[in-house]
């Protein structure tokens, strides 16, 4: 894992920790897992990077329990071909 990615993931961890109640480490880990899974799925980080980060922080990449996560958005996620300039077919807004 490169230093930029690791720094970003540490910031993410810090913000999640600040957002949850004290002594709710399990919730922090579940939310981290959720975000890491998203980043891996979207090929922003590798699965190995996510596993390395999880290991360093003392948790594993198990599927998050929905009951303790933040309320899921009502927006349905769809895999669509977003093109913009025609460069890519990822689901995110890209380019023009």
């Amino acid at each position: 894992m490169n230093a930029v990615t690791e720094s970003f993931l540490n910031v993410m961890k810090g913000k999640i920790e600040a957002d949850v109640e004290i002594d709710m480490k399990s919730q922090v880990n579940e939310r981290l897992c959720k975000n890491l899974s998203t980043l891996v799925k979207e090929k922003i980080i590798t699965k190995e990077d996510a596993e390395e980060f999880a290991k360093k922080n003392g948790f594993s990449l198990n599927p998050p329990k929905k009951s303790t996560l933040r309320a899921e958005t009502k927006v349905e996620k769809r895999k669509v071909a977003d093109d913009g300039c025609g460069h890519s077919t990822i689901s995110r807004m890209s380019s023009c």
Partner: protein, 280 residues
């Protein structure tokens, strides 16, 4: 049809050069299939009054649904249509015609997007829509309304819409014009359940745009932002953009991209523009 152009109603359209995307060759064979994107202007009218508007002063026309449907079907007989963007003016001012078009193209292309200022967002619940590109140029309702010259408020509050909403924020001097302001905009997105947004540099349509344009390069973010890709159009100087992710204070991830179109008519070179009931 050659590999690099497609001809629609005797007009050649250049197909995209995919080599300009870093690493795109690694992302799967499906990307090699040629396709076109549509930008469909429903109207030149708008209920807002933005000072940077590229449509100001354009003559109104009556949108011909049948003409669009014919052209769409004709195009699909030649080449796949990937993305269709309905725009304007404010396309929701032609809601009946918009819904008729959506009924027709549903399931026939990869992505259907409607650009809107949000004043009629609650009425945008057609099942064909994948994404709303909601123009939102400030995190403050009051300032945003001033920019639009229209009372919009925050249409995201209580929204029960079933599709994704992406915010589009123009970078304007004394509005969202710095990384500090952009951070507040990203927080606004996160707090409203938005996963995608964009920061767009003003194109130079008039003196206001010239005087209030903010270079994207002037926005320097910290280590809570990760750049995920950078793109440049194959002709240097036309357009450049980049994708990023931001982790908000609530721990949620917001994807955003930054785009700087250097040429006002960029769209006409990159996609099929349907305006005034004909190819633009």
């Amino acid at each position: 049809m050659s590999q690099s152009t497609v001809t629609l109603r005797e007009k050649p359209f250049k197909l995209f050069e995919r080599s300009c995307l870093e690493g795109c060759e690694k992302e799967g064979k499906e990307k090699q299939t040629p396709f076109v994107d549509f930008s469909v202007s429903m109207t030149n009218s708008c209920n807002a009054n933005c000072l940077f508007c590229c449509n100001a002063g354009k003559k109104e026309f009556k949108f011909d649904v049948e003409a669009f449907k014919d052209f769409f079907d004709e195009t699909r007989g030649t080449i796949p249509v990937n993305k269709v963007t309905f725009t304007g003016g404010e396309p929701t001012l032609r809601l009946k015609e918009l819904h008729e078009c959506l009924d027709h193209i549903r399931g026939k292309c990869g992505l259907i997007t409607v650009n809107t200022n949000g004043s009629r967002l609650a009425e945008m619940n057609h099942p064909a829509i994948h994404r709303i590109a909601l123009s939102r140029h400030h995190y403050s309702d009051k300032v945003n309304d001033e920019i639009f010259g229209l009372k919009i408020g925050n249409p995201l509050i209580g929204s029960e819409l079933k599709f994704k909403i992406a915010l589009v924020c123009n970078l304007i001097k004394n509005r969202i014009d710095s990384a500090a302001e952009a951070y507040k905009m990203l927080e606004f997105a996160a707090n409203n359940g938005i996963e995608d947004m964009s920061f767009v540099g003003l194109m130079i349509f008039n003196d206001f745009c010239r005087a209030n344009q903010i270079p994207l390069e002037s926005l320097q973010f910290g280590n809570d932002v990760l750049c995920t890709r950078r793109l440049s159009y194959e002709v240097p100087g036309i357009c450049h953009c980049s994708n990023h992710i931001y982790v908000a204070n609530n721990g949620e991830i917001v994807h955003y991209y930054m785009r700087h179109n250097m040429k006002p008519d960029f769209d006409k070179g990159s996609r099929v523009v349907w305006e005034n009931n004909k190819i633009g």
